[in-house]
Symmetry: none
Subunit: 124 residues, 4 copies
Amino acid sequence: MDFIDYLDSRPIYQQIADRYRQLILTGVMLPDEQLPSVRKLAMELSTNPNTVQKAYAALEREGYVYSVKGRGNFVRANETLKSKQKEEMKGKMIDLIKEIQAVGLNSQELFAEAMEEAAEDDRD
Amino acid sequence: MDFIDYLDSRPIYQQIADRYRQLILTGVMLPDEQLPSVRKLAMELSTNPNTVQKAYAALEREGYVYSVKGRGNFVRANETLKSKQKEEMKGKMIDLIKEIQAVGLNSQELFAEAMEEAAEDDRD
Amino acid sequence: MDFIDYLDSRPIYQQIADRYRQLILTGVMLPDEQLPSVRKLAMELSTNPNTVQKAYAALEREGYVYSVKGRGNFVRANETLKSKQKEEMKGKMIDLIKEIQAVGLNSQELFAEAMEEAAEDDRD
Amino acid sequence: MDFIDYLDSRPIYQQIADRYRQLILTGVMLPDEQLPSVRKLAMELSTNPNTVQKAYAALEREGYVYSVKGRGNFVRANETLKSKQKEEMKGKMIDLIKEIQAVGLNSQELFAEAMEEAAEDDRD
DNA sequence: GTGGTCTAGACCACA
DNA sequence: GTGGTCTAGACCACA
């Protein structure tokens, strides 16, 4: 249950936020479902409540979650999250394409090869 | 000549390394060509020599550059750099594709849209 | 009948107090009319009786309500409530005007625009 | 020089952020001007560096400031800040107008009175 | 020296 | 019990 990777270069609070962002966007967590309490999650991950707090604050700021004092943090039912997410992914893709082109590689070809290899990984 | 962007989130030594990595891979700098001296580049960029040093050290570690004590830093003539670079880019692309698919988006479609937008940005 | 909005950033006890303050000031609730009992309202709102209690205590402290032990809470017939309320609102308006002017904006113009947009919101 | 007000209901990190937001928007602090370092400001305000850090992080997130590792925090030259600020003020005004109307007061009249009183305060 | 992250632990508001 | 703020202090990356 401990999904923190200390070898990961992302700070811990980021890893937590990324994790829950994903759970919400993939529909594993449903609107109004409660996230684990700050303290409980901190215990589970053997990390500090402040660190979890920082992750949850980011999620709230970004609109993934709403927090009710004395109650907990809950998944927000936000129709626009999906499209926001898509824009984010597109942004990353554009950056990568530019990086590829900047070094003189063919982004179309490289994408095709990457797709194949990604599919192979899945079959493993 | 000052290519450092303080609004960029990457640390300065990274921006310098990224810059020269690119100059080398795109063939703007040729094998055995000399890089600017640490002090000179530090002056030009009004930054700390330590910072330039750190960038050059990274380039040497990665095999882009070789350093000759008392003489300077020079571009390495390494045929394999290109393919190594390509594998790196493909790796990034595969990661991104997986991330996109993990949230249930269509990577093919998103790539196509990103290509268009990247082209538009270029025309600006 | 449940007017609590968990997405609202105000704490629940505040939302309850605000609600009844409004009902009283707008004349929907008349002098000596009885408020719902703490327990009943707590049930209706599926919230904690302590929370309702805290809201009622605030209303009593502010003079909107009087409580009779063993009987309940009742709207106070206070002629001065209206003008007190007006002074409060005016105070808020003055603070906001000063804030607007402090950053060099035209408060008159901004008020006019806000009035229009507020009216639009109503028509939705 | 200590602008923190412990009687203020806003948390300390908010007061700090509000303060610098204002300094930037009113042009007291100019683009690329450096903010006091986290540690120095913490000393000056006899507060904790973490608290200042939290304020600066908020300012960066909102686009008022950019941070350079190992260098410091600097005012961002953002043309759009002004209009963003205006929207924020308008939002506050709209909320207040609705609140006023909700209790059956005349917002136009109340605004006029508030303007007068605000002007009087200035003459003091 | 400068920013950023994290821990340990306290204390408050709220439900 | 639940979230939010804050302090004291450590440690790391970067310039």
